[in-house]
Amino acid sequence: MRTAIAALAVVFSGCTADIVSPSTPPPGSSGRVRSELTAWSSGARRLSRLEYDNALRDLVGETTRPAWNMLPEDTYTPFDNDYTTQNPSAALVDGADSIADAVIASALADPSRRPLIVPCAASGPDDSTCFRAFVASFGLKVLRRPLASDEIDRFAALQSYSVEAGDFDFGVALAAGALLEHPEFLYRLELAGSGPLSDYEIASRLSFLIWGSIPDQALFTDAAAGMLATADGRRAAATRMLADPRALQRWSQFHAFWLGYFTLPHSQQLNDAMHAESQALVQDVVFSRGADYREMFTSPRTFIDNVLADQYGLAEPGSAQWVSYDGTQRLGILSHGSVLSAFAKFTDTSPTQRGIFIRTRLLCGVVPPPPSNVATDAPPSAGTGSPCKVDRYAEHRSNPVCAGCHNQLDPLGFGLERYDQAGQYRTTDDGLPQCTITGDGETPELGAFNGPGELGTKLAESGRLEACVTKQLYRFAIGREDTGTDDANLAELTARFNEDGRRFTDLLLELVSSDAFAHAPSQGG
């Protein structure tokens, strides 16, 4: 039986035990001996909706985003690719069936796209040479490995329908559909068990990590040549891939999932402007300049259009371009409307939710879920006291049941309070000019701060950002939460990140060029 006293104990013990973020790993020192990464356990990874649509785009030029529109939504952890949350369902299998039929029919009917499926001119419905060539070449791209000849036989048997229909493409559509419903298309299945992955499994690891899509021809060629089994080969391939626009798309999405702004609640015009701003910073820091990653959080300029300039109180630049943050206290991505829009509640900011954001996303700490006999939904309301938000929250925290966690969350969130849920600057509560917002916040790890610019600066200077971004990247890469068995890998990658100039793409290259990237763990791993 649950009682209020028991709840109190849960709150206090949960928060005091778990809520503090992990301590900083020791900074890298020159001459440190690097240790090898250990192969991590993995599982059947179903393509996320985004990956599925990317794959269809790269396979047959499909751009209508059918998986995004027809399949059940992915679970966000905050990333969309955690395989431990992926359960098969009739909705998934039926949806994949509908998508396969529609996508193949549309591509075969389009003379400019048909050659992406059928690489040859068939002499007639019974041209088995051309049909087998189609199965082999399209099958390679869809299943992301060469097909064995008995496998080609089984798919090629569907050519009997071409003959019966008197139409070569009739059987092609069936066989191509079968490939798109094959579990080795829908899932990334690594069959090695333990030990080295196959060359093609490595190719898929690379392409899905860096592009969120299938390998291209060059990567298949590398795989066929055995290049991807070597660290240098993987590094070279990844370096080439990072220059492709698909990499920018993928890692912009990574940041949007991590920092909570993939979904934004505004008009599409404002949403687009906010996404463009944050993507421009990723492009600048990570890709164009290969700068110290901490600049993501300290950049003194930003890429905005008139819509966002109005939002931020900056001079309208005419067309979207880089402008200085001068005259404001904004710096870096935490000052973007995108990040400031995330974690809002009730069309106002929620200092509690923003506290959770800082605690879990920026410091990679843990906040235990509230006990179920504490109501968490309602925001602190105006009781008999002051209408000001800061006072209402303080009153809330005077309730001992709430205080345990909220004392450790709200003071963080109030440090962003001068920026509203759409990133606009303010100094008083909305509609309550008597309620001054100080914008003062504090975390035990970073100390006092005022505003997102200063929070970003302190985070960048704290030595904590490196471990946290490494952890987020690692989770996204391996498709699950890290566990204790991943700690050594995280520490090693963080140390290298610190030692090598904190270039984000170097972190990716370190990961892909590790032996672990090309291996399944030994049994039981």
């Binding site: 399949l71 009739a90 909705a91 687009d272 939904d377």
Partner: protein, 490 residues
Amino acid sequence: MTMFRAPLSRRTLLRGAGVAIGLPMLEAMIPTRARAQSASPQRYVVMFGGHSLGCDGTTNAFAPNAVGPGYDLSPALTPLGDLSVQNDVSVISGLKVPWAGGGAVPAGGRPNDFHVNASGPLLCGVRASGALTCNGPTSDQLVAAAIAGSTTFKSLVFRAQPVHYAPFDFPGVEAGFMSYQANPAGGAPLGIQPVVSPQAAFNSLFSGITTGLTPDQIARKNLLLRGKVSVLDLVGGETQRLVPKLGVADQLRISRHLDEIRELERRISAMPPAVAGSCQKPTDPGMDPPVGADDTDTNNDQRLEFPGTAGTSNEDLRARVFCDLITMAFACDQSRVASLMLTEFASAMNVQPFAGFAADVHFVSHGRDGLGGTVELNGKVVSWHVKQFAYLVSRLKATPDGAGTLLDNSALVYVCEGGWGTDATGGTPGSHSTENMGALIAGRAGGLKPGKHVAGAGRHPGQVIASAMNAVGVPGNLGEVQGNIPELFT
């Protein structure tokens, strides 16, 4: 007695001599039930909306003032009048899911935290335990087990709101689940992933119908159907080859995937509905409205990095198509049971398209915070949900079935996440709670006598659901909740 005779499936014929293709329906192919003159099957629908009924703690836009027949239509209930179904729908107000307060969670009740405990007590009648799930099977699955018979789709599980929109706020796919089935392996019931694509639902229900096609087109379609079965045979076989090569955890998941492929193959192989009388092929809904794109968005296809995320996906159209598909699935006896989730628990769907104000459903339920006029606004949100229910009622009412209409042989129930008024969660004015909950029930199956307003007087919404279950011939209670609402039958 012919009731145990297995009808010839169309696949049997198709696998036999090709000459059978295009022949008129053989009597032996028509299932026994379709020839029975007297007993139309019973149909069951449970619909859900993730909204509350009030937002300022003291007033609501839902409950009529008068009790009994000829009740007055509150602002939220006006769609019942607009669609001329008021006499086909009963309104039950004053319902309540009991809560723990400071003590143990009562039977059919919830711990104090409202949202995470909302699903189980409401939809399966079993007390919640701090997670948004059901600790027992939901009514649609209980009913399907009893009345689905040999229908191709044992139950339809649909959701109009396709995505969560604000994943940081209320995480977990369970916010989008309203149907749970008993776990054959024991343990907690399994949530059923709803179909969110009207296009996919249409394809799986009705793409096999050949009415209106030329003989050539029919021949080609039949060939395609055979081809699809071969494809799924092939994919199933390839999957089976893979399973032994996988680790234990993956074996389980991929085996489940294989089960679903086999299920799909079974459904595709099943005889398509015989188009006659009320059973007609519905209009192909075409491509689904873009997910997350508001009405002003003309750029969704070009937006590669961040596809539409504006908080609406034309749910109005999606709900209407799902209601059309349910109606025709019933008329064609493709299925007899459906659940339709209009909006998710604590729904983050933007109400702008129908309420003229940019805010999400959940927020509107909290309306008192700096908004003003919120009872009216929340009334619009409730009304939008009621409209979808009323639309389905009107469709069933307009569809002949046996000697009457589909509505005469159906029981439909609508429940929503929250009521209005203060509850145990304390000092807040109770912007939403499980006090003063409401439900709608429609249809005349099993002696239901709709068209009245019943004061619930603290009874459990699960009793309304049980009334609908009882009406379609499934006796007993919903989970731990005892009894039904007798006034609904008198």
